[in-house]
Symmetry: C2
Subunit: 432 residues, 2 copies
């Protein structure tokens, strides 16, 4: 067979098995779409003798990465082992040997995407990673190809299925965070150590990748302000319902002139915003472009077959590029490192929940402060509490800058009438 | 300039102007993305002297199509005049002259897509039409590139903004169809002659295109069963609310073995289905693939800038292909004409609203009929009406075949206890 393209796979977990399943099941369709045969030449595994559900010839299994990376029959290396140490070395070695690379490794691409891109380009090799964000959702191709002629102003994503599942549970069934997390773990939506998910680190890595593609700027992971969902309380969700707001862990990237704001945090989304209806383990990325306006990509954010599908879309893309002799050319441009937007440019409305001494004049004090800060509010809810002489006050502000809001928050903390700032969240979308 | 690619535009309405705006505004960005200059060489207009908002040199305007189509400096022809007569001749002539074609013309592609594809391939020319469905939403690229490795089982689209706007108005504000249509016309969402929109013909044309790309089968427009929204009543929307269902005009294409079901009709969508929350003039296409599961593309379905953005994404794609010498190769495969699915393979649940003589035993009669037809129901609502001796009955069936349902409907019509079948709709998504 002349038109054969050799595939090497690093890792044979659920995603690796999914890839083999697709290649075996859709041989003909893949041939029609690529005009070549995809042949799995070598697979790196930890244990050759392990029982596997997927049908394959044991002779192609190896425990030595070099058998894949230095194999002259391998044209495309698919990396699905995860992690950043071995994976980095393997991908670098693959590129050095002029093999094209397809990976689902968000951690690696978030950290080393820029230098790996440069190296791939230098080697005339393709390096694709559609599966690294949003599982099977073709969001990366949407940004790099579909919206290529637009100027992107804003990307907001629900890009962590675990936290979205937990927040949906809390919101719909009124169960507290710990219980919802336990449920997610029982159902396999959350890992035994859920830290990376619930603290927003996983979402931050994905935002680093999306930011690079949408804005052509490189952002350091450390520069992404990240707040997790561990402190989200049912009380706030209840007030949210009253105000027509739904809480979501959102990755936000917005351009302000030539600066960029990127953060990951729990945000109240107005119920008429398309992101508000994305539930359970589903992911969605909302993109606002100067020309297109609002658009959204929705789908399963994880799962072996969706992820394998995204990887195979990349493999098909590489296979076509190989035959056309154009590999290494569709690498996205990263023009420069991002400059972070100063806080006075980052505007939104805010929700803040306060406990105050329920005494004559306390309400007036707070109103006065907001007025002094030049920060008007849209809604205010005051509820007396069971605890003696304490009232709970919710304020929803009009659009204001993060700088103004942060200053106001500091001043509120110093006021005698205020017992505590219980919580505060940014609001996205038009509130009623 | 060596690396210059010449553009000819047929038509200078709102979309044509949007294209010129993007090309003028984003010269640098376009150069970076394509490594070439896009130069507008010639534009076909009806009246050269007409005042226009967009800045351009009048010398490039012409009233003679041949100046564009036979122009040696034109590499890519963008067709935005619409219609199927002149447009067909122009595109054929452009391809004959080995010019690549980008069009937003859904009518033309729905009717002649297959033969134009064949001709383009024969001429080694690209023929792209991302803007023909879903305006700025990159749904065509999503299907042909993003989900290329999946086997698509189902495509459901809200692909007509006018009817979605009308149904949203009716549902949220309780205004009847005629009033909602008038509002849509006043706001410019509906044309003076709204027939093609409200009768579902526009959606049917778009479904013909999506079907071809998703299932690689060609379907004749006449084979798409089409029902418009003119008979949708507020009464049904009210019952829908009670049942957790939202009415949408949906284009549905589903594969059953090697046969295909394609229809356009008002459908009740369960409120937990992602399509149910697509409101106003927005469009969305929901795709279910064997591997990826459920995914959805959402965005503005029309508008000059979103449409122009989609066209420019195509132009950039062609510009890259020209430089790579691979034009005419990324044409999607259309393998064969579609065989329509027989009605016994088309299953869903159904909503039916009946007026019955309010007499002892009438309810039992109807129940008996359903039982005889082997069609169980999930929900039944009976309401006495003001008209003497008449009751209104709503039945929501479990999953059943269209064949069974159609037979049941016929039998109901013949029953003495039944005064009239007021309405019936297919239901998609899990009903409660």
């Amino acid at each position: 067979m002349d038109n054969k393209i050799g595939i090497g796979i690093l890792g044979l977990g659920v995603v690796g098995s999914g890839i083999i399943e697709i290649i075996n099941k859709h041989k003909e369709m893949l041939y029609k779409k690529t005009n070549c045969y995809l042949s799995i030449e070598r697979i790196l595994v930890q244990d050759i003798e392990k029982n596997r559900h997927v049908k394959l010839n044991k002779d192609i299994l190896t425990t030595d990465a070099a058998d894949v990376l230095n194999n002259p029959h391998v044209d495309i290396v698919i990396e699905v082992i995860g992690g950043t140490d071995d994976a980095y070395l393997f991908i670098e070695q693959a590129l050095r040997n002029k093999k094209h690379v397809v990976t689902a490794n968000k951690d690696l691409i978030a950290l080393y995407g820029r230098e790996l891109h440069d190296f791939a380009k230098q080697q005339s090799c393709d390096l694709f990673y559609e599966a690294s964000v949003g599982g099977g959702i073709p969001i990366i191709r949407g940004l790099t190809d579909g919206l290529v002629a637009d100027e992107i102003e804003e990307v907001m994503g629900i890009i962590n299925g675990t936290t979205n599942y937990i927040l949906t549970k809390m919101d719909e069934e009124g169960v507290p965070f710990e219980k919802a997390l336990q449920d997610a773990q029982d159902l396999g939506f959350a890992e035994a150590d859920p830290t990376a998910d619930i603290e927003g680190l996983d979402a931050a890595r994905k935002m680093a990748i999306l930011t690079r593609l949408a804005f052509h700027m490189d952002i350091r992971l450390d520069d992404i302000k990240t707040r997790g969902i561990t402190n989200v309380s049912l009380t706030d969700l209840k007030y949210g319902k009253e105000l027509g707001l739904t809480m979501k862990l959102i990755g936000i990237a917005k351009a302000h002139g030539d600066t960029l704001q990127v953060n990951v945090e729990p945000v109240f989304i107005a119920n008429d915003h398309p992101l508000s209806s994305v539930k359970n383990e589903y992911n969605a990325v909302y993109v606002k472009g100067r020309a297109i306006g609002e658009t959204m990509f929705y789908g399963p954010g994880a799962g072996s077959l969706p992820t394998a599908t995204a990887i195979m879309a990349d493999v098909i893309h590489v296979a076509k590029n190989i035959q056309l002799g154009i590999t290494g050319k569709s690498v996205p441009m990263i023009e420069r490192s991002a400059r972070l937007s100063p806080h006075h440019l980052q505007t939104s409305s805010f929700y803040i929940r306060l406990h105050v001494h329920d005494q004559v004049g306390s309400f007036a004090h707070i109103s006065q402060l907001f007025q002094d800060m030049d920060m008007s509010f849209k809604r205010i809810i005051q509820t007396p509490m069971k605890k003696q002489q304490t009232a709970e006050i919710i304020v929803v502000t009009h659009q204001t800058s993060l700088e103004t809001f942060t200053n106001a928050k500091k001043k509120l903390q110093q006021m005698d009438v205020i017992k505590s700032i219980e919580s505060y969240y940014q609001i996205e979308g038009e509130t009623i």
